[in-house]
Amino acid sequence: ARTRFNDVFQKVRTNFQETFKRFFRGGDSDLLLPEGEDPLEARIEIKARPAGKQLRDIDLLSGGEKALTAISLLFALYMVKPSPVCVLDEIDAPLDDANVQRFTRVLGEFAEKTQFVIVTHNKMTMRCASSLYGVTMQEQGVSKIVSVKFDDVDEEGEIRAA
């Protein structure tokens, strides 16, 4: 069990260093197991340094930088063991438009091995969909699922009757 965990840990670590650079256009990141402790029990430390900045405590990152770091780690895991289905709920909300574009580009690359289900209010993320669904409450308090074309989603995020 120990060698297996170590093996996977090293793979995720290398992947994380790669996906982080892709999202932050530079910078560096790392996952560390404290020396001398049993790998099956020890805490896993995470380091993240956006390009051009000093390495600081992970809590000092901004809201968008934290979301992007967590997403990089998630994709690093998928590179080791792709999950057939991945559900993301408004994870793009803290991202600025430039980061949303990078996020959706990487999603497209992973969409071969993993099927994504994404809940969002962001128009740019909607455009990347291969199929788009709307949830409405035409009857108050009762949810209904309708299939939607991108042009049907108006300014309000409301779905015009398809």
Binding site: I44, I58, A67, A70, L77, D89, S131, L132, V135, G141
Partner: protein
């Protein structure tokens, strides 16, 4: 293995039977605040065997059953079915389509079905083991979880790596 369809009936705000088909690519779900998008996410988690009410934003399990609205009476049962296309036989079972169903009754009783025959929860968890989509896996990520994944307490991080091992 692809999740090809989910059907939801009586779970949270879904008073009537609703279906959502997946094409294996990027499925995006949109809609105004409070219309039931995250309830679909909760339905996927619940259907995969999630046992903790707090993860489903409920204080007790029976608040998962449709509790009524202006134009619809409360229901007695919540049911979610997840349809998987198993034509490449990733799941160790002899069917091309595998349907995992979970039911909850007002009495508190639960029922799990595999292709329409009643099974135990353990049969479903065993089936989904090692595929990366069980209830515990990292397959559902909400914005609120970002703080946990990066936090000092690090348990969540370890669990994520262990799941991949």
């Amino acid at each position: 293995m692809i999740l090809s369809k989910i059907s939801i009936h009586g779970f949270k705000s879904f008073a009537r039977k609703e279906e959502l088909r997946f094409d294996g690519g990027l499925t995006v779900i949109v809609g105004p605040n409070g219309c039931g998008k995250t309830n679909v996410v909760d339905a996927i988690r619940w259907g995969l065997g999630e046992q903790r009410p707090s993860i489903l934003r409920a204080d007790r399990m029976d608040s998962l059953i449709f509790g009524g609205a202006q134009s619809a009476k409360p229901l007695g049962m919540a049911e979610v079915s997840l349809h998987f296309d198993n034509s490449r036989h990733v799941l160790p079972i002899d069917y091309n389509e595998v349907v995992v169903t979970r039911r909850l009754f007002r009495s508190g009783e639960s029922e799990y079905l595999l292709n329409k025959s009643v099974v135990r929860l353990k049969d479903i968890s065993d089936l989904l083991m090692d595929t990366g989509i069980g209830a515990d896996a990292y397959s559902v990520i909400e914005l609120k979880m970002v703080e946990d994944i990066l936090s000092e307490k690090a348990e969540d991080r370890r669990k994520l790596i262990e799941e991949a091992a």
